[in-house]
């Protein structure tokens, strides 16, 4: 439909200008990544002197050497995997049956339960009562605390509930005839039919777990339990604050900037690997999320 009206000169100009503008925006999105990658492979001296613009200057792997030889880096990397996988599975185990129950017409007090979930989207107690609650529950400084305390959120539950509600009841009738109970109906009928919605929620969980830093920073004191993002923050903070460290670096093959850049590259790589798979779903996810309350 849209191809046929490319006739006039004005249209062609419009389309070209448009392509150039989008291209520029895309490049400006991409550039910071290129810059960081270039810095991470440059020598400390070149980075310090601001010589790196587009490609590495005085190529060296020294910064990576320093980052990868740090046991704490690997430890926090491992922790991030624990929080991401453990947290996502916990979320799914609670959210899928819960959303299914909320979608059942025979559930007593259905409106009340739904409102109870939705209300938390509009009002929350805030940072301090939440923190005190975690402390009082004895979940500070624990893997389990981080995993369980962020297991649910109203948005994901409502998204999945709406999806379950949109599945016609004719699908479950055959299973009911065969005497399937609710668990079997959920597992054999609803879950397979809801793959796009479940994939979307999984994506949201994985992304928020992988990237989560604030609560991990606030709830974990034990260095052995911190995830990668908290480690990255600490490294950036100590590296850039520490005058002494900076001055010892004059002869070193790496600098504050190159080490920071190297950690950033290392923590982006898994996201880049996951991204192509995720891409399939987030378009759908946003649209599923757009459906009414």
């Amino acid at each position: 439909m849209q191809n046929m009206n490319l006739y006039s000169r004005g249209d062609r100009l419009f389309v070209r200008v448009n392509m150039v503008l989008i291209g520029l925006f895309t490049l400006s999105t991409l550039y910071p990544f290129i810059y960081i990658a270039a810095v991470s492979f440059s020598s400390g001296f070149a980075a310090r002197a601001g010589l790196v613009v587009l490609s590495p200057v005085e190529v060296t792997l020294a910064a990576y050497g320093r980052v990868l030889s740090e046991p704490q880096f690997w430890n926090s990397y491992g922790n991030t995997f624990i929080y991401t996988i453990g947290g996502t599975l916990t979320s799914l185990v609670i959210i899928i049956p819960g959303a299914y129950a909320l979608s059942r017409p025979q559930l007593l007090g259905r409106r009340f339960w739904n409102l109870m979930v939705a209300f938390t989207m509009w009002f929350h107690a805030g940072m301090i009562p939440f923190w005190l609650n975690i402390r009082d529950l004895g979940l500070l400084d624990s893997y389990f605390g981080i995993i369980i305390a962020f297991a649910c959120n109203a948005f994901n539950i409502i998204l999945l509930r709406n999806f379950f509600e949109s599945i016609p009841s004719s699908f479950e009738e055959a299973a009911r005839m065969d005497g399937a109970n609710e668990f079997q109906v959920l597992w054999k009928v609803f879950v397979p039919l809801s793959k796009p919605a479940i994939a979307t929620i999984t994506l949201f969980c994985v992304v928020s777990r992988w990237n989560g830093f604030f609560w991990a920073m606030v709830l974990l004191n034990d260095e052995g339990k911190i995830p990668l993002q908290v480690y990255l923050r600490q490294t950036i903070a100590t590296l850039s604050d520490d005058e002494e460290f900076s001055s010892t670096l004059i002869d070193a093959p790496y600098s504050v900037e190159t080490v920071t850049a190297a950690i950033i590259v290392c923590s982006i790589i898994p996201v880049l690997c996951f991204y192509p798979f995720a891409q399939k779903y987030f378009n759908k996810g946003i649209l599923l999320g757009g459906v009414k309350e």
């Binding site: 191809n3 989008i22 613009v53 819960g98 259905r110 107690a125 995720a278």
Partner: protein
């Protein structure tokens, strides 16, 4: 809807006939019906329970704990035993210049993000829509969506590196045109532009998805008849596409206004310094410092309650406005 069909039928029957046992029998019937219901349907309650327990334990229990905003909270006495002090903390807050500054900054940063950030995804969606080369379009989309998936800490790391006074690319570039290096991150006047700019960089691409979806939903016959009338693409964009997605734009705008109190404070915590507090400190960073760093839990909880109540009112207002808008302008 389907709540208690049996009992309501039962009470309707018995109401007129027997005045004496009228209250006892429906009650009994109701209990029998309930017992039967739970016997048949216990499984969905088992499914529901973990989620409800989670909500009570992690979201509703803290709401109960909000009472410390009205108490002189001491760790040793606990939430319930601490003595009430009424509105003392709120009085303290509204006489505290730091808190008032944080409120002001929250509103200013939110409003500026809205003014500069809101139109960008709309422009992007309109422009993506005009790109006919599928591969080019897909490649650009893939790239501009990417920053959404990058963590705040990495964004902060990139900003700190890029704006570093000695080594950062920004100072290198302004050096080419002869400007002296600026230590951007300790200059209060630069904090907001940097914060809002990095927000746009991170989210504008991803936010365009919702508008692209709205554009995809425009009736194609509108374009077909416009082509017959000899309209240019530019005209079609202004006369068809933009009016058609106006409801989406208005609803997104209302939602954004409803979320005015939500500033991305995680990025602020990572980027601000005492030198930039005057333009950077928002309510949530104030709460974080007063509560979690200085241990003034009650005062910080009061600030949080103020924030939550204002946010709640805004969100509710936004919800009701958007319901009205979507009913009248989406058909």
């Amino acid at each position: 809807m389907t709540d208690l069909p049996a009992s309501s039928a039962g009470s309707a029957n018995s109401a007129g006939e027997q005045a004496d046992g009228a209250s006892a029998r429906p009650m009994q019937e109701r209990l029998v019906w309930l017992a039967d219901h739970f016997k048949r349907e216990w499984q969905i309650y088992v499914m529901l329970a973990p989620m409800i327990i989670w909500f009570l334990l992690f979201l509703y229990k803290p709401m109960y704990g909000l009472q410390i905003a009205f108490k002189d909270y001491s760790i040793f006495r606990g939430i319930v035993e601490s003595p009430w002090v009424g509105l003392e903390h709120f009085e303290t807050l509204f006489n505290n210049s730091q808190f008032l500054r944080a409120v002001k900054n929250t509103v200013i940063i939110s409003a500026l993000s809205l003014i500069f950030g809101f139109p960008v995804p709309i422009f992007l969606a309109l422009m993506f829509n005009e790109i006919l080369h599928a591969l080019y379009r897909r490649t650009c989309q893939t790239i501009v969506y990417l920053p959404h998936f990058i963590s705040t800490v990495i964004i902060a790391g990139i900003v700190i590196t890029a704006f570093s006074p000695s080594a950062g690319i920004v100072n290198t570039i302004i050096g080419w045109i002869g400007i002296e290096p600026v230590y951007f991150l300790i200059k209060p006047e630069w904090f907001r532009p940097i914060f809002i700019g990095s927000g746009i960089w991170q989210e504008a691409g991803f936010s365009s998805i919702i508008f692209l979806a709205a554009i995809a939903g425009v009736n194609p016959s509108l374009y077909e008849s416009a082509v017959v009338d000899g309209a240019s693409r530019w005209q079609m964009m202004w006369k068809i596409t933009i009016p058609s997605i106006m409801p989406t734009i208005i609803i997104m705008l209302i939602i954004r206004i409803g979320n005015l109190m939500e500033v991305g404070f995680e990025l602020i915590i990572l980027l601000y310094q005492p030198a930039t507090y005057q333009t950077a400190d928002v309510i949530n960073t104030f709460i974080y410092r007063q509560g979690l760093q200085s241990g003034q839990y009650d005062l910080a909880a009061a600030a949080g309650l103020f924030n939550a109540v204002v946010a709640f009112v805004l969100v509710m207002a936004a919800n009701s406005v958007s319901k009205r808008v979507s009913r009248t302008s989406l058909w």
